[in-house]
């Protein structure tokens, strides 16, 4: 019984090595940062393009104007994802 307790204690020590735990936490945080940062813009771009397509179908003569606004909107929304991505690469690799 005592031997078993020793083995369990050693395994627990190995599992909670502070350096490993820190690396694991950093990797998980970086993954969450990128994942969460990509979800919001994804929803935003979907909504934006859906509304733009609706507007173009309803008023085809204004399609050029809507497309310009849509393109700029997409690019601005995507900037949020890029910020999340840069935070990810700085947390993970820098």
């Amino acid at each position: 019984m005592e031997a078993l307790a020793k083995i369990v204690a050693k395994a627990t020590e190995a599992a909670v090595d502070p350096a490993d735990a820190k690396n694991q936490a950093a990797a998980a945080s970086a993954g969450y940062a990128y994942g969460l940062a990509a979800i919001g813009p994804g929803i935003g771009i979907g909504y934006l393009v859906g509304k733009a397509v609706e507007a173009m179908a309803r008023q085809p003569e204004a399609a050029g104007m809507v497309r310009t606004t849509m393109f700029l909107g997409i690019a601005f929304t995507e900037a949020l994802a890029l910020i999340g991505f840069v935070v990810f690469i700085l947390l993970k690799f820098a």
């Binding site: 990509a38 813009p41 994804g42 771009i45 979907g46 393009v49 859906g50 397509v53 609706e54 173009m56 179908a57 309803r58 008023q59 085809p60 003569e61 204004a62 399609a63 050029g64 104007m65 497309r67 310009t68 606004t69 849509m70 393109f71 700029l72 997409i74 690019a75 601005f76 995507e78 900037a79 994802a81 890029l82 910020i83 991505f85 840069v86 690469i89 700085l90 690799f93 820098a94």
Partner: protein, 168 residues
Amino acid sequence: MNAPANPLTTRFDGPAPEAQVTRHMLKRGSVAIPVLVAVAGFIWGADGALGCLYGMALVFVNFALAAGLISLTARISLALMMGAVLFGYLLRLGIIFLAVILVRDASWVSLPALGFTIIATHLGLLFWELRHVSATLAFPGLKPEPNPQSKTMSDKRMRKRKRTGRES
């Protein structure tokens, strides 16, 4: 009130305003390359300058791909355009991710400089371009450029507006 057209069959064969805006943006961005590279080189050294160049190339490819996908698919159908934009978003994020993963251990690139450049160039070019976008029924893309040779009143007014930066 007009009934909405079917997005599956509606298509636009005319000029693509997003391609025009992107070409203009890339032209202006290429003017800003030396300035940004010099700033990055001053802060992070030669690695920073190379990282900055790489980041700018990534942003340019990202804009060109976005505009190209929209222009190409709008000629086929609106529904396809919507799909292309959504999957294009994933594709472009994937391309940027792969491009950064490929150089993450390279000795010639500074990751902070690369990250800073991606954000600064993307947002900087967009805000810069907002000054030149018209988005009206007559000019759906960029604002019309005044003709320097013309003596007509409208061109004179346009030149004055451009000089003072005031919209009437």
